[in-house]
């Protein structure tokens, strides 16, 4: 079975600080894509960042970056200079060419304090 594990149900960070959310996954496929989605209370799933597994370089999007360790099947998300608007559920997911659906973790709830 293909699985995604997010070991931190809840995380807290102070405004302007840095936080890292963990994710490990398990797939036997060699070609896949990884994603972090953000889900605020509005329920809208918003793409934060994506990583192609064949790329060694870690993806970055402004204050968001990932640490992709392919051999360890680890895909953590770092949020720098945290803002109040970053408070949300964060989901790690991956997709492979053996099935079009994304496989999601259970999420990490991020609280940002002033």
């Amino acid at each position: 079975a293909q699985t995604v594990t997010q070991s931190q149900p809840e995380m807290s960070v102070q405004e302007a600080e840095t936080v890292t959310l963990s994710c490990t996954y398990d797939t036997s496929e060699s070609d896949y894509y990884l994603f972090w989605y953000k889900q605020p209370p509005s329920r809208q799933m918003i793409l934060v960042i994506r990583q192609e597994a064949y790329k060694q370089q870690n993806a970055t999007e402004n204050r968001f970056s990932v640490n992709f360790q392919k051999a360890a099947k680890s895909f953590s998300l770092k949020i720098s200079d945290s803002q109040l608007g970053d408070a949300a559920m964060y989901f790690c997911a991956y997709g492979t060419n053996s099935g079009y659906a994304l496989n999601f973790g259970k999420g990490t709830s991020l609280l940002v304090t002033p």
């Binding site: 329920r43 793409l47 997709g95 079009y100 659906a101 994304l102």
Partner: protein
């Protein structure tokens, strides 16, 4: 352009009733997905449509669940004889069509079965 839209936003129904949930994908997106999100959980894949191909129904939990899509446009997810365990947020996503394309999500429909 317009994103993925879903209606209704919220639906409360009585056990045993049928419900229909609607999804309007992003214009031009050939792929459409339905996911279910139970409280405190990640997303579970339900069904996938790609153009005029036969849909992938492998995630549907029972024969009470069905879905249709009109060409590359609107999709309807129908749940017959609803049960309390069907209570969840139902999320729709669309993508341009390739397996590696990013999926863009709608705001979801929160279904409550009394």
């Amino acid at each position: 352009g317009a994103g993925v839209s879903q209606s209704p936003s919220n639906k409360v129904t009585e056990k045993g009733k049928d419900v229909e949930l609607r999804c309007d994908p992003i214009s031009g997106h050939t792929a459409l997905y339905w996911y279910r999100q139970r409280l405190g959980q990640g997303l579970e894949f339900l069904i996938y449509f790609q153009g005029n191909s036969a849909p992938d129904k492998s995630g549907l939990p029972s024969d009470r669940f069905s879905a249709e899509r009109t060409g590359e446009s609107v999709s309807t997810l129908t749940i017959q004889r609803t049960q309390q365990e069907d209570s969840a947020v139902y999320l729709c996503a669309s993508s341009p069509g390739g397996w590696s394309d990013t999926q863009y999500f709608g705001p979801g429909t929160r279904l409550t079965v009394l």
